[in-house]
């Protein structure tokens, strides 16, 4: 699985992109966040600011219950500020 981070989330996590192998019992975004949160404290932010963070699965806006697998590209980012 590719996980991408943008804006201040990227700076907090310390990388813009990671390759992670997730166990097969992780099947949606919510489970993925819990899994990362237990794995390393650098991911606590994703867990703590859950309601503020936008999620994309395969470059499409998604939600906590969107299905994910190891072949997907996930992105976490703050609300957008272009224009």
């Amino acid at each position: 699985m590719v996980i991408k981070y943008f804006s201040w989330i990227k700076e907090h996590i310390g990388e813009s992109e990671e390759l992670i192998d997730i166990p097969s019992d992780i099947t949606n975004v919510d489970q993925l966040i819990n899994y990362l949160n237990e794995k390393d404290s650098k991911y606590n932010l994703l867990f703590e600011k859950k309601e503020l963070i936008k999620i994309a699965v395969n470059k499409t806006y998604s939600s906590f219950d969107t299905k994910v697998s190891n072949s997907d590209e996930i992105a976490f980012f703050p609300p957008v500020t272009g224009g």
Binding site: F6, S7, K59, G83
Partner: protein
Amino acid sequence: MIKNSPVIKVKIQNEDFDVSEETRFLQQDNTGAIVNFVGIVRGYDEKNNRTIHSMKLEHYPGMTESEIEKIIFESYKRWQLTGITVIHRVGNLKPSDKIVFVGVSSKHRQNAFDGCNFIMDWLKTKAPFWKVEENNNKRNWVSFNESDNQALKKWKK
């Protein structure tokens, strides 16, 4: 002579754009009205009361383009536009630099005004771009403006 499908251009780039050239691109045989929006980097952040020396824009390659295309498709269906262009700059920008161009053309004027306004409002809330303002040695990620969510209400059918 009458073309039924609109001309469409979406560009994410660091380079500046030329408003005259983009206006010409939007003009089709059946175009009677063109509305252009140009966004400018402001040198003063009123919310936080501070001067901005420069800013940097990042985006999510692939997703940014695809979100903009969804907005364009919706605006085309709703207002029968004859041309639609969205150019958004990324990378380093300074105050007074142009940052975004949204131009639309249509047969009649109100569709052009509404189509352009609609695209800007949705771009502000959906297109994955993020701004970081730089002021001396401080970096400040710009936070989302709740008024941009409010602006979407006018497009409820």
